[in-house]
Chain length 412, copies 2
């Protein structure tokens, strides 16, 4: 007998019929003798409807009221799933964020979880063998007593945080895919579903564009050592596939050098030409961007021929592109550069693997393979367990396929 | 400067556009210098949608989860109105039942309000001049911490209870009619909108079928002496009509003998023929009905010619008709009667007025007038300030018009 968290997203609870299917998954685990907490999102489409009401009500909306309106979507789903479970003879009750309570900070609209009090849910397990049906995505700010939401995809984060809060032995994230693949199977049909992947690798994959799990949920799973499965809610409830386990690297016997290839088209490139090559110039470029909360990722700096000026290239999220250009234009005299250039049609392709730590020359091999395919590398970043290259967006699929084959990830 | 509660129902907040219109009504009162709490229902249609989800999820639903699901409708509206007000530069925040808190008992689905803590709302008035936008229809059960709902029309009750809780000097109920009329204007075009009506009279009218206000809200208004206006949300927000004031009878200078004529087609008639006329027979008839929670209203008992048996006639709500017949059929030997008869096509017409107390023969005048029109009276009940007659439903409109003229209520 184990304690278990199961999470179902919006498409898995899109209709009452689908909620009944979710209940069959829950029934399987209850009948296996487990204590179960289920975390649910809003019925798909509902959150968008609520957000559009908010936008119509007030273009520059108060984020606290936004949260009040939008959190109602999960309240409906948690109540409905509890109804279905009770109707099937499985004791269940719904829990809103404020009832648990799941405390967050007051960054309304994208609040961070501070503390999950698992006592009430555990009491329900103990006293009544009761399934806890939890509204994902929402919490409460302790001081103000107001409803908060965790931002898009926040239900994954809720699920893992609740798993940590009730010391669950496992957290199952049910999605519309059946696990984590070595890369996007729409690009590489020979991509392989992994049985296990290390937290650190999953963190990089999520950051690099693999949208199967929210980055913050992986962080929390890693910190609290919650073994987390990604699996499909559309499997037969009586005979589901296990999916992919995200776990501590020690749990994985043999590491491949590269575990997966991720890509993202959400980045844009900015270049400052002929910046004076003197101390403090990098700060003069990046400080104003940091102050505007713009996240700079890859940075490349080349000395120009005369040795007196330098070119600086870096990437920012596509959503911040216009704002970044505007800030740099206004700071032109202060920074002192000749020209400002931007490119939106770029993509970042990343190779991730814990095995990189103990293998030299892994990235160099990639640079060679990409150049042989005629793919120009605009910028490079590396970390202990991943490297990324920035390339023309047109070459994204070719680059992903090239690296996937290069590191022996293609299905046999 | 006064403290004021304004309540808007589902049709008044059916769309974001209409919510903006509600905000203009609120603005008028804020600009007049008042501290305002606004109570809102769910957008019309939403509650029905949520109820149908619940029914699809579980035909025999758990009322606690029903409440969780259905209360989400008001949460959306309160958030949206707060957004619109803030956007107009009027400080506002939403309040859910559990945030106020508005405590109720745990009769989920039709909970009764136990206590409204006005402190937090009053603190918002004081510290920030903040409009309180309150979700109607919902509360919280203190011991279980679960969301409750007050039953259909419960937002009226919320509004008056909150008015009592914050010691408001007035509660304005905005509806789709512009006040309380001497009778239904669809039946009597010469019906008159009253300027004032006493709590006791309104209570009888609401009970007798005038659907403009929930009975429980009138009870609370009367007990806590909250002057309550019924007025239209479709009036020009900058120049609205005052509507009808429901107030203590002392506030009304001169009472007419009869204030209004109400009618109801929701009653049915049941007759037991030749019941033995002995002590305890009434109990044997009405106890089983009471135990089944069936509300018996008018009772008439006639001695039959032989003096040994009696006929008993009474009314029950139409919704309980089949159940009542079934119970009486099963108790036939125990009660001892010859035949059981029922009639569904009956109507109850009532005349209400505090002036009746000091005038004799008011009802007798009515019986004469009705018989002159050929209307047969099947049963009669009277109280201090009203009398009701049960008649064939076909004669309802004729009876209402006859009494409306008889007591001089027709517009001049």
């Amino acid at each position: 007998m184990a304690r278990l968290v199961m999470k179902f997203g919006g498409t898995s609870v899109a209709t009452v019929e689908r909620i009944k299917n979710v209940a069959r998954h829950v029934k399987r685990e209850v009948e296996a003798g487990h204590d179960v907490a289920v975390v649910v999102s809003a019925m798909s489409g509902k959150t968008n409807e609520l957000v559009s009401f908010v936008r119509e009500a007030a273009p520059l909306y108060d984020a606290r009221e936004y949260d009040t309106v939008v959190a109602s979507g999960e309240q409906v789903t948690s109540g409905l799933l509890a109804l279905v479970l009770n109707d099937m003879g499985i004791p269940a009750r719904s829990w809103q964020g404020w009832q648990i309570p799941l405390y967050s900070d007051d960054a309304h609209g994208s609040a961070r979880i501070l503390e999950v009090d698992g006592a009430a849910i555990l009491a329900g397990f103990e006293a009544r063998g009761e399934v806890a049906v939890v509204s994902g995505f929402q919490g409460i700010h302790k001081e103000s007593g107001r409803i908060t939401t965790l931002g898009r995809g926040g239900s994954d984060t809720s699920a893992v945080a609740i798993a940590a809060g009730i010391k669950a032995s496992r957290c199952d994230i049910y999605t519309d895919v059946d696990g984590v693949y070595t890369t996007d199977p729409r690009i590489v049909p020979r991509a392989v579903r992994m049985n296990k992947v290390a937290f650190e690798e999953m963190l990089e994959m999520a950051s690099m564009g693999a949208k199967v799990l929210q980055v913050r949920s992986v962080e929390i799973a890693m910190v609290h050592q919650v073994p987390t499965y990604v699996r499909s809610s559309f499997d037969d409830p009586d005979n589901p596939n296990p999916g992919t386990l995200i776990c501590d690297e020690d749990e994985i016997m043999e590491h491949q050098v590269i575990t997966g290839i991720a890509y993202s088209k959400d980045d844009t490139e900015i270049t400052l030409r002929e910046v004076a090559d003197k101390p403090g110039v990098a700060a003069s470029v990046f400080m104003p961007l940091a102050e505007a909360n713009i996240n700079v990722d890859m940075i490349v700096q080349n000395i120009s021929e005369d040795g007196k000026t330098t070119d600086i290239t870096f990437t920012v999220p596509a959503a911040d592109y216009d704002r970044a250009l505007d800030i740099l234009n206004r700071a032109k005299t202060e920074i002192g550069y000749r020209a400002l250039q931007g490119a939106k049609d770029v993509a970042k392709v990343s190779a991730i693997g814990i095995g990189m730590r103990s293998h030299a020359g892994v990235a160099a091999k990639a640079f060679k393979a990409l150049s042989e395919k005629g793919i120009n590398i605009r910028a490079i970043t590396t970390s202990e367990i991943k490297f990324s290259v920035l390339i023309d967006a047109d070459y994204t699929e070719l680059a992903v396929r090239t690296l996937h084959s290069l590191y022996g990830l293609d299905r046999g």
